[in-house]
């Protein structure tokens, strides 16, 4: 796991002649990047009772799937889901539709596989199960260290409950 940028490399480039340091702007970014790095993947077991047919939970999952963030999402957020974080900033959602098509997607992308008819096509055929879906969303490096997909639990973008809601939405009949 590449946990740190090669520090020696950073230092090597940062050193410059003192005479120009007050003239040419060379702000530091190494620290910003260091603090922003993706942590290694943890063990992401699907919690008990994760997948549900509760329509309210599925509505929240759907909303997080289809929207980018609370500031940009149209309409009211479903019951139990906020558009803002406690600190007043917009809550980020999954924006999954940027890369995936699914039932009712508006402008669905094709960077990731089409998730339409997921249960019929992938689960009933024994190719995938709920545990896989949960783990893939939590941290897609689970079966592909070079994945282009977003990381959702390790980054703390979502908590376990929210990942369960998104999983439930994907597995639901739409």
């Amino acid at each position: 796991m590449k946990r740190s940028l090669t520090l020696s490399l950073l230092l090597g480039v940062t050193i410059f002649a003192a005479d120009y340091s007050s003239v040419i702007e060379v702000p530091d970014a190494a620290k910003i990047i260091q603090e922003d790095l993706l942590p290694p993947m943890g063990v992401n077991k699907m919690p008990q009772g994760c997948v549900t047919s509760d329509s309210k939970a599925i509505a929240r999952g759907s909303y997080m799937f289809h929207n980018l963030n609370g500031g940009n999402a149209k309409g009211q957020a479903p019951e139990g889901l906020s558009k803002k974080l406690p600190n007043g900033k917009d809550k980020q959602y999954g924006n999954c539709v940027a890369c995936h098509n699914i039932e009712g997607a508006i402008g669905g992308g094709n960077i990731g596989p089409d998730l339409s008819g997921y249960t019929e096509i992938f689960v009933k055929t024994g190719v995938r199960d709920a545990e896989y879906v949960y783990q893939k969303i939590a941290d897609p490096r689970i079966d592909n260290p070079h994945t282009n997909m977003t990381v959702n639990l390790t980054t703390k973008l979502f908590n376990e409950k929210e990942i369960c809601e998104i999983t439930s939405y994907i597995l639901s009949t739409k």
Partner: protein, 256 residues
Amino acid sequence: MRKILQISLCVVLASSLSFASEQFAMSNADRAMYEELMENNPADMMLSNGSELLDALGGDAALAKYLGLSEDELPVYLAGFPRYIEKFKMVVSIDQMLQAFMHESGKKPYALKSSDMFDMSSYVKSIANEQPINIDIEANEHMKKAYALGKEVFNTRRGGRGLSCYNCHNPGVVGGILRTQPLPDISAKGNASAATWPAYRMTKSKLATLQKRFQGCMQNALLAVIPLGSPEMTALEVYFTHEAKGAVIALPGLKR
């Protein structure tokens, strides 16, 4: 003084529109606006402002002299930025070089993020119009290091969604659709980012430099935004510029 590149510009833009999945690229209204702006890129005005700002410092001639070049040598030299400049003991982009030039001309340097600096540095890069990008990452240890750092920054997963630049800008996903936008090929000859930025960004109604565009992707993809001119930003520019090596500079670009 400034070469206007209507014809070559049109070729570049036409090719950038011909993505496999072009129906996704723009709404009809946006496309109509784009075609209109192609006739008359608003960034032309900003570059003429930049040209005037440089004139106040003695113009192209004074800049060439400052760099120890003849005016004829200036375009080819500028097509090689970012470059290591011995006097500064670091790899710099054009805007940083201009900060030193301003200082040594007895003026207070514009801040990197100021619109005057965007205008002036964009104008100065456009002096290299029609030149192929000739950055040399093997020129010395500093350039080698900057390239390596740029590549590392490009490939580093970070931020709220754990993405790297590479995740959206790799050969496997180029042309794929990300929320209705085709992912651009950042090294396609003739559409190479480093040869077409600074550009007028239609959706922002602003002139933006390549580094500013990097910040845009960082913001959108939830990577912590790093400051213009930081060694990591300059290194990213080195990386992108090397990817576009050989591509003919055609500025200002016009982007969605």
